[in-house]
Amino acid sequence: MSEDFNDNKTIQAQSSETTSGGGAGVTPDTDYVRPAEVADQDLYHGHSFITKWVFCQDAKVIGVQYFLLATFTGIIGLILSWLMRLQLGFPEVASFMTAEHYYQFVTMHGMIMVVYFLTALFLGGFGNYLIPLMTGARDMVFPYVNMVSFWMFFIAVGVLLASFFVPGGPTGSGWTLYPPQSILEGTPGSGMGIILMLISLSLFVIGFTMGGLNYLITVLQARTRGMTLMRMPLTVWGIFTATVLAMLAFPALLVSSIMMTLDKILGTSFFMPTILQAGEVLEYGGGSPILFQHLFWFFGHPEVYIVALPAFGIVSDLISVHSRKNIFGYRMMVWAIVVIGALSFFVWAHHMYVSGMHPWFGFFFATTTLIIAVPTALKVYNWILTLWRGNIRMNTVMLWCLGFIVTFVNGGITGIFLGNVIVDVPLSDTYFVVAHFHMVMGIAPLMVIMGAVYHWFPLVAGRMLSEKLGKWHFWFTFLGAYSIYFPMHYLGFIGVPRRYFEMYDSPYVTSAVELNQFISTAAFIVGAAQFILIYNIIVSLRIGKPAGKNPWKANSLEWLTPAVPPEHGNWGDKLPVVHRWPYDYSVPGAKEDFIPQTTPPSEVADTEAEKT
């Protein structure tokens, strides 16, 4: 039992130790860093297969588990999208599909992608792996609860997928689950399907609360010596702020799910007004469907920032490392992330402009929505200003970053169309909206995920991914996805509504048949192209070039572990001591074009490194 813990760890009290040597000689006062405030973490080390790889408390293992499970659900979501596009592009081929099936695919695709794939991947996957490493901690502060959070996610996914097999099938109410339709006949899956969906979401929220508490407290209270909040990489800022949003937005989802479940199971009327169905008045009455929409979107809007903010943070780091240049305006970038996060709670009803809510809300929410465009635009300017006068490595990672910039600006601008209330009136519930959110939330963050995979795979696996395969993967995905969603906006302009199983012979829509065929074909190609990555990963795990330590010559702490891939406890015997921010690239006077965060000032005394 005592081998599970290293009980003889001593508190690090010496001020001038660094990970890069720090010998017995005199070290200058410039290198002084305060001693540790708390004792070194006392971690539980598993020894059996189960405690090392299954019920493991190591945040890195948990991160990979989240990543794999989220990707698995993402692949299911991808297959569902193929089925949808098959119906929309080639309905004769999709004759096996009924309207019920179609709506069930639409719903499950949406919910899986937004919640179970993107959120889980960014927060659970990247958050778990990178937060302790980047802040210099050995692990999350409460590893046991962190482990339980993953298994809650696992059960939530299980319940969600089980809904495919219950009588009536999964819910087909749209990922937005609007009542009254979602629990009434006339909508597929309005029996067990919707109930399992709501249970799954509740489990998801509980699990992510457990995980989220860990991410927040580790960042706030468990950083290593010298690591101030303003020396943290933007990746951490992005994931941290997204987690704050999650803690405050998921409650609304939980409450709306509970209330809808009660409406379904017990016949309460929280959201159900007087309803006439098949000639008979149901026993509901007095409830408000719009109340659900307020609750749902109070969650739903921060949710999209929960997906976007980690992507913003990560892409800043990727661009910085691969252009050998500090991120432009780091402090402004931090403030922008925080302000965007805060403002995201005040814009939700821009999803409800045509919901029938009081018209005066339109003025308020259009204003707040367009205000939030300002810090977002500043981030975009700072990304391209980082490229300006950089020394840009045109490798696979950088290509994904550039793809992000193009798709995010495109999607962000179309968001401004929709945010301006009157412009939303003709475009609401058309394919313009579908194109907008796929571009800004599907494609742009996906570009970042891919870039992040190529960037951090060498750390996690100890091997490099193939650049050649990576470039094929990129161009197919970027050009293909852009070809899907850019033209789709124009379907919205001609007025094609969303969530239409087919258009029948609407006179002015027959012209869109070819466009739909083109989009569907592109979708199949892009989907297939993802297998290039899977192949790349599998092959590189075996015969990829060994990465060695810090192959990208980056500054942040995750690259500075004694072992690659990092072991349980991350740092070996000595925790790192941080002296600078992670963006000292191409510092005039420095020997190399990067200065790792643990480099003490005395070693770079004759450079122009700024005090950070």
Partner: protein, 278 residues
């Protein structure tokens, strides 16, 4: 370097697509051409930003491509530039918001001479009711709806007696006369949308929502349901005929009023409904 060219091609291709696209707005047939104008303004400003940002990105990628001997610039911040960019963006955003809110204000304030039309939505069809000679629609109750009273009109309400009932999904309206669409639903959310009129609003059970427009082009238009309402959503269509004053009056004369319907039915119980099990 050559990746930059491909990105440039994507931007140029997007602009060309926009200029030559065969898929664009339907011809506007109502007064809400101002919505189109706001969209056009947004295109200029937003599109301009998109092109500028992407071209700048392409330029950087080509000009600052990695060279061993190159040293990137080391400049953590440029306060002045950041302030200028913040102000410029704020001005751009304000330039979009101000006209948008002005038009929104017009949208929510209905002209006094608008004709009220009750649009009743159900899974999966439409029916309509006009106020008749007194200019007022009678009040309704969902519980009153049955075969003999398909609109659920409350019998005691005198305003309802002359309401014109249109029990099909084809509505006729007068050209060049504002119309206030009063939406109600008897079951789930729906939305009465004609792309050429541009305006739309959800129909919410339990409440009455509205929007208004003034048609200005005679013709026949298709109505689409624009809020997911179950498996029949995509098939829930209607038609609207915009007619000249004379043609409209002729059509109106032929329509049945609620009193006509009541007389046809003879003496029948109207308020009886069956309360169903869920």
């Amino acid at each position: 370097m050559h990746a930059g060219i491909i990105f440039l091609a994507v931007i140029v291709g997007s602009v060309l697509f926009h200029i030559f696209t065969p898929w664009y707005w339907t011809d506007v047939a109502s007064n809400w051409g101002s919505m189109d104008d706001t969209i056009t303004l947004t295109f200029w400003i937003g599109g301009g930003v998109f092109i500028a940002v992407c071209l700048f990105m392409v330029y950087c990628v080509i000009k600052f491509s990695y060279k061993e001997e190159r040293k990137a610039e080391y400049k953590p911040e440029d306060k002045k530039l950041e302030i200028i960019l913040t102000i410029a963006t704020t001005l751009g955003v304000a330039a979009l918001l101000a006209p948008g809110l002005i038009v929104w204000n017009q949208f929510i304030n209905v002209p006094k001479n608008a004709i009220h039309v009750d649009v009743m939505a159900w899974q999966w069809g439409w029916q309509y009711r006009l106020p008749g000679e007194d200019g007022k629609l009678g009040s309704t109750k969902v519980a009153n709806i049955n075969d003999s009273n398909p609109f659920g009109i409350i019998l005691e309400d005198p305003n309802g007696k002359d309401d014109v009932l249109i029990q099909s999904d084809v509505l006729h309206i007068k050209n060049n006369r504002p119309v206030k669409i009063l939406l109600r639903s008897v079951d789930v959310l729906h939305n009465w949308y004609v792309p050429q009129f541009r305006a739309k609003m959800d129909a919410v059970p339990g409440t009455i929502t509205y929007y208004w427009f003034e048609p200005n082009k005679i013709g026949e238009y298709e109505v689409l349901c624009a809020e997911y309402c179950g498996v029949g959503h995509y098939g829930m269509r209607g038609r609207v005929f915009v007619k000249s004053e004379q043609d409209y009056e002729n059509w109106l004369q032929e329509q049945e009023t609620f009193s006509d319907l009541v007389a046809k039915q003879g003496k029948k119980e109207f308020s009886k409904t069956k309360l169903a099990k869920k």
